[in-house]
Amino acid sequence: MIRSENLCIKCGNFSLSNISFTIPENKWGILMGKSGCGKTTILESVCGLRKIRTGKIILGDTDATGFHPLERNIGYVPQDTALFPTMTVFENIAFPLRVRKWKNDAAAARVGEIAGLLGIEKLLGRSPVNLSGGEKQLAAIGRALAFSPKYLCLDEPLSSLDEDRKEDLFVMLEKIKKSINVTTLHITHSQTEAERLGDIILILKDGKIDAK
């Protein structure tokens, strides 16, 4: 479960107050709202990347408000993917495993498993610089899922793709939803995306959240 209780965030002149929502265990929550309304700010706060003034972030049964990002067990995929350009796709996906001191064989097997699930086996030896938008998104999702996180945060994963690529990635996200038990917070502008993937739809409007 991902729960936000009366979250107040201030960054520069922008502020959000009393943001509350709950995404039940293993459900896919969609957060929608206009550009600049603070969706990414909320997502970053859930991931522990942004300081909050008051309120609580509950992950499962634990109050994770003061937790370091590494203690939250969240796989995070930012809008621009932020794949590490000095590493290959394989090294990117293996990164969280290497940080956790996995042995080379085990890490390689896990990367192979993730690549198989996402259909990116052929990309493993390539540099992120030479990938298309859709391939980058898949590699970034693979990296976020590699360490089997309990929670997944996706920041507009389909926004920069053309229609054909979007459909491919849609299918892949539906596959992930069915095959992996992970509680997800997914930001999007698209109503179709929300209806196809969302178990719960949260709409951020005028600094408040309505749940559908």
Binding site: E44, P69, L70, G75, A82, F84, P85, T86, P96, P128
Partner: protein
């Protein structure tokens, strides 16, 4: 094809810019030609064989290397903090860090002299007019440049890479070492070489703070000064040529490794 008035303006502007640029380019080439044609190569060998000049060359290379490493060791954390954190008084800190750049070199030397006069006598004697003074004078000036360069280098890398690394299991230190450092390495190599070249050419603060004692605190720049002041123009030019060769080598390294800086922008 009809040439309109707008086209004529475009061509005029381009021609003017080319002309102005060419003046400076030709001027720089003329400077180098003058230096290289002033003395014969065999004279250069003779000069480099002199004990004083060899000492100055060794001290210059040694002190510049130590100074560049020390400057970078200070500039990397400062550049990181200034680009990754916001805090009260940040602009005041930035302004103070820029002071050594805008201060006249002689004033830097004088200030160092006054500061070290206030230190315990043992330390003061060990530093002033000794080799450590050469290194400290170089570090004082080049660290400010190093901070400017490292800031620019860190600003080119989106903080999101480190943020993602932290969600993937890294501490901030691990994110710095494993994710940020490999991306900024070409920029840091450029920063090191530029600081090294700047240290090699430092003169004013060294003259005031370390003096220009032969076989003691004499570096290449002070050698040029000492030889000129005694009328040995050939020797001064020979030393200048050595410095030009080293500076050219630095320029080559910077151009070779500086190219890697924008790799991340493509992602």
């Amino acid at each position: 094809m009809k040439i309109s008035k707008a086209h004529i303006w475009d061509y005029t502007l381009t021609a003017c810019f080319f002309l102005l640029g060419s003046i400076y380019l030709l001027f720089t080439i003329a400077l180098l030609i003058c230096d290289f044609t002033y003395i014969k190569p065999e004279f250069l060998h003779k000069i480099i064989a002199q004990e004083e000049i060899r000492y100055a060359l060794k001290l210059s290379l040694f002190s510049s290397s130590i100074s560049a490493v020390a400057a970078l060791l200070m500039a990397v954390p400062i550049g990181y903090i200034l680009t990754r954190y916001n805090f009260r008084g940040k602009s005041a800190v930035e302004a103070i860090l820029d002071i050594p750049i805008v201060l006249p070199p002689v004033v830097v030397g004088l200030s160092l002299l006054l500061l070290f006069r206030l230190m315990p006598e043992k330390l003061s004697f060990a530093v002033i007019y000794e080799v450590p003074a050469v290194i400290i004078a170089q570090i004082t000036v080049i660290t400010a440049f190093a901070v400017r360069i490292t800031r620019a280098v860190f600003e080119q890398v989106n903080v999101r890479y480190e943020n993602v690394a932290m969600t993937l299991g890294c501490t901030r230190w691990q994110a710095f070492v494993k994710v940020l450092l490999p991306q900024v390495l070409p920029g840091l190599i450029s920063a090191f070489t530029l600081c090294w070249a700047k240290a090699l050419g430092e003169f004013g603060p060294i003259l005031i703070f370390a003096g220009a004692t032969r076989l003691k605190t004499e570096v290449l720049t002070t050698s040029v000064y000492l030889e000129l002041s005694t009328g040995n123009i050939e020797t001064a030019v020979s030393i200048a040529l050595v410095m030009i060769l080293f500076s050219s080598l630095i320029l080559f390294i910077v151009r070779k490794y500086g190219k890697g800086l924008n790799r991340e922008a493509a992602v």
